[in-house]
């Protein structure tokens, strides 16, 4: 039987609100607006809630009765609920036992577009200042390291070098070789039109050495290692391990951040060089297999076109990217709140921040290299 409430007036000016049927959260509840209209029209002094025909009930009845009580209170009508089941009265009393803490209610800001843009802009500004603070702390910690006052453990640096370097080789190899093959194939299709397949070597060699090797390696490291840094430090924050470090007299920057940045700075140039070599190798396979450019021809062309500065520029850029990826990972990890969801957010944010840093710094460095004519022939 569906939940129902019927309203009637007695001669003595008392309204009788009779509840009947089975009140369940699955069922459609009666419209309270009709009850409000009835009570407003009749203006009884007292409303008597009757539950003689009430079947089974759950929280649906309780929330309905609480809303009904609020209406009665607004209309100044006395409530008589003595006939309600003991359980219902007990549950309602329990829900009202602790009054609402007014100071705990958060101010709801309007959700319009301009407000959201404004809030995001403020957040970005604060985030920028926090990042500046963080970089400042890293500089101070690095200064202490140079003066031999740091508590950084070199064993931690070695552990992270193993993690950032050799352990990353398989994925760097795979992506490096594929990147070289793709560059060669896409370029060669166009070059073949002009009979200039031999220039595949220039395209792949210069492309990988100057830009693609560094970019690809650092983006991979942002996804692989930057996120791992954020997750590690985030989990440590959740487990109070960072606080334990602080209260044991260790700076998290010196103890956790510096080893990671140094490890990344030391390993990423080698990874970049490795990716460059494998990319060039991948290009040579495509050139030899599909475009009739033998490997000796390919290498000869490469030798005439590539200069050490091309590799140096790429590797130098990659070292900067590596530092930025490690900074982004550690920054987001230490920003983590004390809950599991926040670790996930920190990890995602570390990758996004790392990639933004890579792209922005690449643009800046490319402009600087152009301005300094470093690649001029």
């Amino acid at each position: 039987m569906p939940p129902q409430i019927s309203a009637s007036m007695q001669k003595d000016g008392v309204a009788v609100l009779a509840l009947s049927g089975d009140w369940s959260i699955d069922a459609e509840l009666p419209d309270l607006a009709k009850i409000r209209a009835f009570l407003s029209r009749e203006q009884p002094k007292r409303a008597c809630l009757m539950a003689e025909d009430l079947g089974s009930w759950d929280s649906a009845l309780l929330t309905f009765l609480i809303r009904l009580s609020q209406i009665l209170e607004q209309l100044g009508i006395e409530r008589d609920d003595r006939t309600l089941p003991k359980g219902v009265l007990g549950m309602i009393a329990l829900s009202q036992a602790v009054p609402e803490r007014q100071d705990a209610i958060r101010n709801q800001t309007p959700n319009d577009f301009l407000t959201l843009v404004g809030e995001h802009a403020i957040w970005l500004q604060q985030d920028f200042f926090r990042l500046a603070d963080f970089i400042g702390e890293i500089c101070i910690a690095f200064g202490r390291l140079l003066r031999g006052k740091s508590r950084m453990r070199w064993s931690d640096v070695m552990t992270h070098i193993q993690e950032c370097g050799p352990n990353a080789l398989p994925i760097i190899s795979l992506i490096g070789i594929l990147m070289g093959m793709i560059l060669a194939f896409v370029g060669a299709v166009q070059l073949k039109v002009f009979g200039a397949q031999l220039l595949i070597a220039d395209l792949v060699g210069l492309g990988m050495a100057r830009e693609m090797g560094a970019m690809m390696t650092s983006i991979l490291m942002a996804g692989r290692t930057g996120s791992a840094f954020a997750a590690e430090l985030g989990s440590m924050t959740v487990n109070d391990e960072i606080d334990a470090l602080k209260t044991s007299g260790f700076s998290p920057i010196e103890f956790l951040v510096l080893p990671r940045i140094l490890a990344m700075f030391i390993t990423i140039p080698f990874l970049c060089l490795f990716a460059d070599i494998l990319g060039i190798f991948g290009g040579s396979i495509v050139a030899a297999a599909l475009f009739d450019v033998s490997i000796p021809e390919y290498l000869q062309q490469l030798n005439t076109r590539m200069r050490p500065i091309d590799l140096e520029v790429g590797i130098g850029k990659c070292a900067v990217f590596g530092i930025l990826v490690a900074v982004a990972g550690c920054f987001r990890g230490l920003q983590c709140q004390r809950n599991a969801a926040s670790v996930g957010l920190a990890t995602t944010s570390a990758v996004v921040t790392g990639i933004v840093f890579i792209v922005v710094s690449d643009a800046v460095m490319t402009m600087m290299i152009t301005a300094l004519d470093l690649l001029k022939r």
Partner: protein
């Protein structure tokens, strides 16, 4: 527990009225997060040698107060003085040296998960003392033996049980023989027997080391058995509702809330009966 703990309380030798000068002094402390005030106008002293309990209902700010006392969170206003030195008024190096005189057992243990138990305990020893590696190793074994974990030196925190992690964290907390030990919900997540043993260990260690202990807890058994002095933080008035030895507060506190808390609601006048769920 612990006849020993009960004896301490009963004999009064560790009672707050007879212990020494203030070790920690909190004056007009206001704690807030993002403008939301948690507690305000807090004034209390922790005297040397006390086992000082910070108690109160969930969400009243006990752990936040602890974070203020151990120098992790700065007060919104007011001061926390450690042996007369304002923890947030001194320079960074002085604060670090003050913190080294404290040992902290975190609620989660907070052992560094990438290190073995021995490395966890050895780290503060090798960083802050001039001991040789051999001496550090001996001390590590000694500290682990104090908490009943001899032989577990090479285990990682993830390889041992929660109770063992707590004890290992306690061994790390006492690594530098601190003057004051802080415990954040030491018995949380432990079965009653392990919790009782940990309480016993806390009393033993603070007695033997001559340390002061500050314990944040709402575990009644711990409060009444090991506490020599206490404060009760009230969630509604956002202030300290009562201060004194827990046993005395249970008997004679003028606050109904405090008596209810310490008697698990048995003294509550308007006790709610659990509602029945009606299914005709």
């Amino acid at each position: 527990m612990t006849n020993q703990a009960l004896t301490f309380a009963a004999s009064g030798t560790r009672s707050s009225t007879e212990t020494g000068e203030p070790h920690i002094e909190v004056s007009n402390l206001t704690m807030a997060y993002d403008g939301f005030v948690i507690q305000t106008g807090m004034n209390f002293k922790v005297r040397r040698g006390e086992i000082f309990i910070i108690m109160g209902p969930s969400g009243c700010g006990k752990s936040t107060l602890l974070r203020h006392l151990i120098g992790i969170k700065a007060p919104s206003s007011g001061s926390v003085r450690f042996d007369g030195l304002d923890l947030w008024g001194v320079d960074h190096e002085t604060r670090d040296s003050l913190l080294l005189r404290m040992g902290i057992l975190y609620q989660s243990g907070a052992l560094w998960s990438s290190m073995t138990l021995a490395e966890n305990i050895a780290l503060p020893l090798s960083a802050h003392t001039r001991l040789s590696k051999k001496e550090v190793a001996e001390l590590v074994s000694f500290k682990l033996s104090l908490v009943g974990l001899s032989g577990f030196e090479d285990y990682y925190p993830a390889e041992i049980s929660g109770g063992m992690q707590k004890r290992a964290a306690l061994a790390r907390a006492i690594a530098l023989d601190p003057e004051i030990l802080f415990f954040d919900e030491p018995s949380s997540g432990l079965d009653p027997i392990s919790a009782g043993r940990l309480d016993e260990l806390i009393v033993h260690l603070t007695e033997s080391l001559g340390s002061t202990a500050v314990v944040v807890t709402h575990d009644l058994a711990s409060i009444l058995e090991i506490g020599t002095n206490s404060i009760y933080l009230d969630i509604e008035t956002k202030s300290i509702l009562a201060e004194g030895p827990p046993g005395d507060l249970l008997e004679i506190s003028s606050s109904q809330n405090v008596r209810d808390f310490l008697s698990r609601g048995q003294g509550q006048k308007t006790r709610k009966t659990p509602p029945e769920h009606h299914q005709p």
